[in-house]
């Protein structure tokens, strides 16, 4: 009844070409920057983290709806599910960061009289950091594989136990991800500015990647519809995705201002240094970040109509996707490099990793029917509409 997705040779060739272009640009960029390797590693970290976190947040989207016993998401569930399967591969890129951590993280080479970092050393030391990185990747891989397996098994059987078991695993996922999403953000991103800390940072990064994940779901949905799949997704489902993008963009802004406001008010030098470097050396993209990630989706998606029109939704999604890449850039670059740099290396690495991400997504997406037809709430997902 529903056409299964076919990963055509044409698409494969296109994505491989994309990866090759990305790889060539990356190699060119690497050779151009051989004398400042910290820029290379910052790029690896940025793209490695961004896409891994998007994959994980997309899977979080599925898990939340499993736990909330919602129905509408079953029509698009297979998209974030397949996105989540990128986690182990993104994890490999994150393992690469371990090789270059000396170039990004200041705490890997502490001055003997730096008491602040010496105090943090029991947590922030190369060995424990590497262990944590490996643990995150392993735990996340286990979780996304397990829940995906249960979902795929439901295509073969109508046993309700599959549903209840996936709910149990979703509970475990939520608990573990609540902890690891925060700690991984501290480890991978916040510890770049080694002396600085913010208790809000984990949520801030998580929401940032969650918004990005929703935008990628929308973009992939659009691409799949263009290829003639997912025709069953109607305006109501778009509307709900639009609401996600709209609402969480506002939530992102809320966390951004919460973090900024407290630091601005209390005006303590060791805290304000984080924003001082960003406002002085990254002035343009620091403010552009707020406009792109908040004002643009806020104003575009406010009317009901734009959330229900795929083209408007797509525009907002692309803006937000690029915007949160910039958000990560603003989080990483000042601490790791100190001044804004953008060139062949950044573009190439992003295209390369995005190409890998897309290739693996389509490969996973082709493995199963485009909808979980035996899901207990599948029929319900067409039997609703948004109140006007």
């Amino acid at each position: 009844m529903y056409k299964s997705f076919e990963f055509t040779q044409k698409l494969k060739t296109f994505l491989i070409a994309l990866m090759v272009i990305g790889a060539v640009l990356t190699i060119a960029g690497v050779f151009l920057n051989l004398d400042h390797t910290h820029r290379i590693w910052a790029n690896v970290l940025l793209n490695g983290f961004y896409f891994t976190a998007i994959a994980m947040s997309a899977f979080f989207f599925v898990v939340v709806h499993i736990l909330g016993e919602s129905g509408w998401h079953t029509t698009i569930q297979r998209i974030p599910e397949a996105m989540g399967q990128y986690v182990p591969f993104g994890g490999v890129i994150m393992l690469l960061v371990l090789v270059g951590m000396h170039d990004i993280y200041h705490w890997t080479h502490i001055d003997p009289d730096d008491t602040v970092l010496l105090g943090k050393a029991p947590f922030l030391n190369p060995l424990f950091f590497s262990v944590r990185t490996v643990v995150y990747i392993l735990v996340w891989t286990l979780l996304v594989r397990k829940i995906r397996k249960l979902s795929l098994a439901s295509d073969e059987s109508t046993d309700i136990k599959l549903f209840t078991r996936s709910r149990n695993w979703a509970g475990i996922f939520i608990v573990l991800f609540a902890i690891t999403s925060s700690t991984s953000a501290w480890d991978w991103i916040m510890s770049i500015d080694s002396h600085w800390y913010s208790t809000l940072f984990g949520w801030y990064i998580f929401v940032s990647t969650f918004v990005a994940a929703v935008s990628v779901i929308i973009i992939l949905l659009f691409v799949l519809r263009r290829m003639g799949y997912m025709d069953h997704v109607n305006d109501e489902h778009m509307h709900d995705l639009g609401k996600y993008l709209f609402g969480f963009s506002i939530f992102w802004m809320y966390l951004w201002i919460s973090q900024y406001l407290l630091i601005w008010y209390s005006n303590i030098p060791e805290e304000t240094i984080y924003y001082v470097t960003r406002q002085n050396d990254f002035e343009l993209i620091f403010w552009a970040n707020v406009i792109i990630n908040f004002l643009a989706p806020f104003l575009i998606l406010m009317p009901r109509g734009t959330k229900r029109k795929m083209n408007w939704l797509l525009i907002a999604a692309i803006i937000v996707f690029v915007g949160h890449w910039i958000d990560m850039y603003v989080a990483i670059w000042p601490g790791a490099i100190g001044h804004a740099e953008f060139g062949v290396l950044e573009i190439g690495m992003t295209i390369l990793v995005a190409g890998i991400f897309l290739f693996l997504f389509f490969k996973q997406f082709a493995k199963a029917p485009v909808v979980p037809e035996n899901h207990p709430y599948f029929k319900e997902s067409f039997d609703y509409d948004n109140i006007r």
């Binding site: 201002i257 900024y260 406001l261 008010y265 005006n267 406010m302 509409d385 006007r388």
Partner: protein
């Protein structure tokens, strides 16, 4: 003054309600009102109701709230009563954000609530005839206004689509 006559019938389930409405519409029966204990998905579409204009009122009021919130603070802290807080500039935009936000929400919420009450003839002092108190609990009621000599046919058509407790109401208009 002439009294208005209404015929009402209720359904214990919202799915039956929607089906019944569709059947009544096929028989060209004009539905005056439908009363439900909670918003029923798809009801507006079936009744072909116009989209609510409340969001627009909310947006306009919210914008006014934002302008007032920001403007008032800016005026107070630069012109009317400048105070120095920890050496920060008088026009400190970050510190205005929470109040601006709150006033935006407050104005929008007020406009929505009172706009809604006004538009649906509800709120303090409203004098609406109560057709069935159980509508606030678990009944989904269809209300048909009966013109002269229509009463019997309307009652019949309500019963034929499966409505329970079909009865007649005389309401002072």
């Amino acid at each position: 003054m002439k009294n208005k006559t209404y015929v009402s019938g209720y359904f214990p389930d919202d799915k039956d309600l929607i089906i019944a409405i569709k059947e009544l519409q096929e028989k060209n029966v004009d539905i005056t009102d439908v009363r439900t204990p909670f918003p029923v998905h798809g009801l507006d579409k079936v009744l072909k109701m116009r989209r609510s204009r409340l969001p627009r009122a909310g947006f306009i009021a919210g914008t006014i709230g934002a302008v007032i919130g920001f403007g008032f603070q800016a005026w107070v802290f630069t012109e009317a009563w400048p105070l120095n807080f920890g050496g920060k500039p008088y026009l400190s935009v970050p510190s205005f954000v929470p109040v601006t936000f709150e006033l935006t929400v407050l104005f929008a919420a007020f406009a929505l609530v009172f706009g809604f009450l006004l538009r649906s003839h509800l709120g303090p002092g409203a004098d609406n005839h109560i057709f069935d108190e159980e509508v606030t609990n678990d009944r989904f009621q269809i209300l048909l206004e009966a013109k002269d000599g229509q009463v019997d046919s309307l009652q019949e058509s309500l019963q034929s689509v499966g409505a329970l407790g079909v009865q007649l109401h005389e309401v002072k208009s």
